[in-house]
């Protein structure tokens, strides 16, 4: 009797331990059996082309639609390549992708959403250099323009520009008409912006109309400095940011012609909803917003007549804006190099560009045919064509290994200025000091 109980107890223990280890063992077995079946299959049908399954990740695949169109088209043209799509929410994309790559997830082709995470991934050897592949195919890099050079790290190319966005000034024609103020023009200065913003502001409470909206991103606060062309955010002197920051503080805290940073932050405000609500006169934002505005209007989410012009500039300087390019890249650990390159070439090449242009997004690949598709879209405001012809586009952040760390620091200091906790001069001095500290620590 007792022995039996003892045995049961022992058996239980044994079972627990076994089931525990079984959890660990399963994966190996599965992959092994998968490998076996693969082998069997290839043995059975040696002539037939092997079906390659690629893993591809992007953000808002289902909701935005254009990536879906690109992938579906690719699948139709390449039936031998299967694609599994990992759809990640835009806000979490960078974080989630990095964690997944670190966890050994075999994503073959993906977008690097922002320059700092791109540089980080290159540094971590997670992205394959494509110079060889480009040379082998004799790929014409001309349609990519100058953005191609900016993607290079240590002279090596790590991806094809899939999208190339830059900032413009969006405005709500209805509000300008109501207030009987002339629309913004392509040769506006920041002073025009500030004064018009003040004139547009009216009302109280629910009827409040703000002249402008300033998104709580650091880039919306430092772009005025970059427009001067006096260097980038990693190496340039931060004193270039002074008058831009002062201007924005004046608009928000003195003129009160835009909701202030702290309010926007605590309300979790987002430019898309705010502008489409129809009580904001002007908004400077990236070209990606064109697609969103058109799409939301088709979906009946807003009924605003909007227009675009080039970014305002500082008195007496040439047209200039900031931008960023989104590269499509290949995982350095991919097992299907040829198929992955085929997909990357498709997305970042002419085919992908045509689909993007149809959706009013600015592709990295730009030739006359693509430009024509873009301009002939009936949803695109005709007078807006000139707005797209900005000559000088400066990168928000260069593809530099410290871009991420410096970006966080700059964001913190700009936050101090925008919430009125620090003077512009003190913040700039602190930014210089902290940049030195970060450089020192990451030599």
């Amino acid at each position: 009797m007792e022995n039996a109980k003892k045995r049961i107890a022992l058996l239980l223990t044994f079972l627990m331990v076994v089931t525990f280890f079984a959890g660990c063992g399963k994966k190996v077995e599965q992959t092994q059996s998968a490998a076996n079946t693969e082998k069997k299959e290839s043995k059975a049908q040696p002539e037939e082309k092997e079906q390659v399954k690629l893993k591809f990740s992007c953000w808002d695949y289902e909701t935005s639609g254009y990536d879906k169109e690109i992938i579906e088209t690719f699948k139709k043209m390449n039936p031998d390549i299967g694609i599994e799509v990992l759809d990640i929410a835009a806000k979490e994309y960078a974080d989630k992708l990095t964690v997944m790559l670190a966890g050994g997830e075999a994503i073959d082709v993906f977008y690097a959403k922002d320059p700092s995470s791109f540089a980080g991934m290159v540094l971590k050897n997670q992205i394959m250099p494509i110079d060889e592949l480009v040379a082998k195919d004799n790929l014409n890099l001309e349609p990519y323009g100058s953005m191609m050079e900016k993607l290079k790290i240590d002279g090596k190319l790590y991806g094809l520009p899939y999208r190339s966005d830059y900032w413009l000034l969006f405005y709500n024609k209805d509000l300008f008409d109501q207030a009987k103020i002339a629309y913004p023009t392509n040769d506006w200065t920041w002073n025009d912006f500030k004064e018009t913003s003040k004139k547009l502001t009216s009302g109280e409470g629910n009827n409040k109309i703000y002249g402008s909206y300033i998104q709580t991103w650091a880039s919306a606060y430092f772009l005025m400095g970059l427009q001067k062309g006096a260097g980038n955010m990693v190496e340039g002197s931060y004193s270039m940011l002074k008058d831009g920051l002062e201007l924005l503080c004046d608009i928000q805290l003195k003129d009160k012609s835009a909701a202030d940073y702290a309010t926007n932050k605590s309300m979790g405000a987002h430019y898309r909803g705010i502008f489409e609500k129809g009580n904001v006169g002007m908004l400077y934002m990236g070209t990606w917003f064109i697609n969103a505005l058109v799409k939301d209007k088709q979906d009946g989410k807003h009924n605003i007549n909007w227009g675009i012009v080039q970014m305002p500039v500082w008195e007496g300087s040439n047209d200039a804006t900031i931008g960023l390019t989104t590269p499509v890249v290949i995982n350095s650990k991919t097992k299907h190099k040829d198929a992955a390159w085929k997909l990357a070439k498709f997305i970042g090449g002419k085919e992908g560009a045509k689909i993007l242009a149809k959706n009013l997004l600015i592709p990295g690949y730009m030739d006359e045919e693509v430009m024509k598709i873009f301009n002939e879209n009936p949803d695109f405001p005709k007078e807006g064509q000139d707005a797209l012809k900005t000559n000088n586009i400066y990168l928000e952040w260069p593809a530099h290994k410290l871009s991420g760390l410096l970006g966080k620091m700059v964001d913190e200091e700009i936050q101090m200025v925008a919430t009125g906790n620090k003077t512009v001069d003190a913040a700039i001095a602190d930014m210089e000091k902290r940049r030195k500290e970060i450089m020192e620590q990451n030599k």
Partner: protein, 304 residues
């Protein structure tokens, strides 16, 4: 003789058997602890002497991470913010929790309802709560400042938008959230104090304050000891509300140690450096808890 021997053998067998059963019951929990707590802690300890970005192989760099830490202004600011947060939150939480417990214990009608109401913040999701408080604290449209303005304060604090008030804002919210939990502990402690003591004190002519000071507090000291330790540990680990309400801002005004560890590891991908910071946090908590256990005999009263 032989019978005796076999009996003691039998006894041993029983003990042995019970032991195995006990271990069987402990095993599931222990396995979980082992995989999800013990191994990661060990890994973090090893990692703190390494440089690792999650992709390239880890490199042993000795004490460099620790050296770096004491020159890193973000770490130093976060360290002092954590200390400042803990040493205001803990006393405040305990005072509020104790006051609530005493009030509820003194025969308020509908005690269970009040207990539930005060316990509610502890049960509710911290994410939801933090978002709600973020709205409450809004400088221009928030209910708190609206109320302060009607009270005649023309220039109310800008709460989460101001460097001086962001930390107090987080502290107030944290106290509100956790006081109910500790109140329930104090309540059960109060219930176990024998009524005879109060009766005797009444006969001796003690007033309410004297009774509280000389009977309630000493008799409550075991509960107090437990609450202080739990509260301290939880305060040092503060993260969620800061992550949601302020993201460490404005600037670095509410950046605390765990937030710093999180951002070093998962934003900057310096896992070694983050592990080193986590080790420092562990040491701080360990030392404080150790000191408390050492000195508990001096003030904790276990006699009843």
């Amino acid at each position: 003789m032989t019978e005796k021997k076999s009996k003691s053998k039998k006894g041993k067998a029983i003990i042995q058997r019970n032991r195995i059963t006990a271990y069987c019951f402990l095993l599931p929990n222990f396995i979980g602890f082992f995989i999800f707590t013990f191994i990661p802690v060990l890994a973090a300890f090893v990692l703190s002497f390494m440089q690792w970005d999650s992709a390239n192989p880890a490199k042993f760099i000795g004490l460099k991470n620790f050296e770096l830490m004491f020159k890193d202004s973000s770490f130093i600011i976060s360290f002092w913010n954590t200390i400042c947060y803990t040493f205001t939150t803990v006393p405040l939480t305990i005072i509020v929790a104790l006051a609530l417990a005493v009030a509820l214990n003194n025969g308020v009608k509908g005690i269970t309802v009040f207990r539930a109401i005060h316990f509610f913040p502890h049960v509710a999701s911290i994410v939801a709560i933090s978002v709600v408080w973020q709205f409450l604290y809004n400088a221009d449209f928030g209910p708190i400042n609206m109320f302060l303005k009607t009270m005649g304060i023309n220039d109310p604090p800008r709460w989460t938008a101001s460097v001086q008030w962001a930390m107090p804002a987080v502290i107030i919210m944290s106290v509100w959230k956790s006081a109910g939990y500790y109140m329930v502990m104090f309540l059960s402690g109060l219930k176990s104090i024998s009524n005879q003591l109060y009766e005797a004190a009444t006969i001796d002519g003690a007033n309410a304050w004297e009774k509280f000071w000389s009977i309630t507090l000493p008799m409550l000291s075991p509960t107090m000891f437990f609450v202080v330790i739990m509260c301290l540990i939880n305060s040092f680990k503060v993260f969620d509300q800061i992550y949601i309400m302020t993201e460490g801002g404005p600037g670095r005004a509410t950046s605390v140690l765990v937030y710093q560890i999180y951002s070093q590891a998962f934003i900057n991908f310096k896992f070694g450096y983050a592990s080193a910071m986590a080790l420092i946090l562990f040491l701080i908590i360990f030392i404080i808890t150790f000191i408390q256990f050492r000195f508990q005999e001096k003030w904790v009263n276990y006699t009843n």
